[in-house]
Amino acid sequence: MGEENVLIVPGRFDQIRTITKFVTAGGEAAGLDENTLFHLELCCDEASTNIIEHAYGAEDIGTITVQYQTTKEAFKVTFQDYGRPFSPDDVSEPVSYKDVNELSEPDLGDFLNKMKVGGLGIHFMRKLMDEVHYNFDPEKGNELTLVKYMPDGGK
């Protein structure tokens, strides 16, 4: 407990499974349930995809460093990359997802465009994780942290 586990992979789509397996193995060892592990897999997938597509802009530009840490209170995953600053806060919620069923054609196009800028992935993270933090540092690059609280605040 409290120790850190680190994985560094090339920023490529074919590395995303390695990342999600790494993180969900940690989550499972930490005692997270199956549903939470699925949510974690989805969020890590989306975070990694966003790094490749938006921070780096393409595959094989840079690396993705993934770390997870388990404490009594929470399971924390951090993604770090050296791509251009890409903050979840820069991406506004792409149309209210509750209203998407009322979209006319031009709005459906707009929804689709906003999806292209990683909006949906960030939406999933905000909905499924208990905390989402972002930091950019000129030396360290982008740092995205996802936090999932332990059930009952840990045993």
Binding site: D14, D45, K98, V100, N101, E105, L112, G121, H123
Partner: protein, 119 residues
């Protein structure tokens, strides 16, 4: 035929094309689904049923492909509906707000027969 974790089967019925997908849909292979949908649209088909019963995992990349195809179908006065999504896939659609509300963007059917009957 696929070397990825994705298997896509296309069946052209009288009024609709039934596309059965199996495996995982993520950013490594969503373009395969995209290509199949685009090809079928280009052939002149505009009604689709996407069976997602055997899809164990789908990320927003998969949703993007389906929303894009839905948009093209609607432009041609057709529709794209979902048949028997697996629980995980159903959850992803719901999280994105695509199957909720009084008139959801995607109609979901419990099975192919009911979906075919709707066209």
């Amino acid at each position: 035929m696929s070397t990825s974790d994705l298997v896509i089967n296309v069946e052209k019925l009288k009024r609709v094309v039934l596309i059965t997908v199996a495996g995982r849909i993520d950013s490594t292979n969503a373009s395969e689904l995209d290509d199949v949908l685009k090809e079928t649209l280009d052939e002149g088909h505009n009604n689709f049923i996407i069976n997602l019963d055997k899809v164990e995992y789908m990320s927003s990349a998969g949703l993007r492909a389906l929303v894009s195809a839905l948009r093209e179908s609607k432009k041609k006065r057709g529709d794209l509906v979902i048949s028997s999504p697996s629980p995980r896939v159903a959850e992803v659609f719901e999280l994105a707000g695509l199957t909720t509300g009084p008139t959801p963007l995607f109609t979901v059917y419990e099975n192919d027969a009911t979906a075919v009957g709707s066209f």
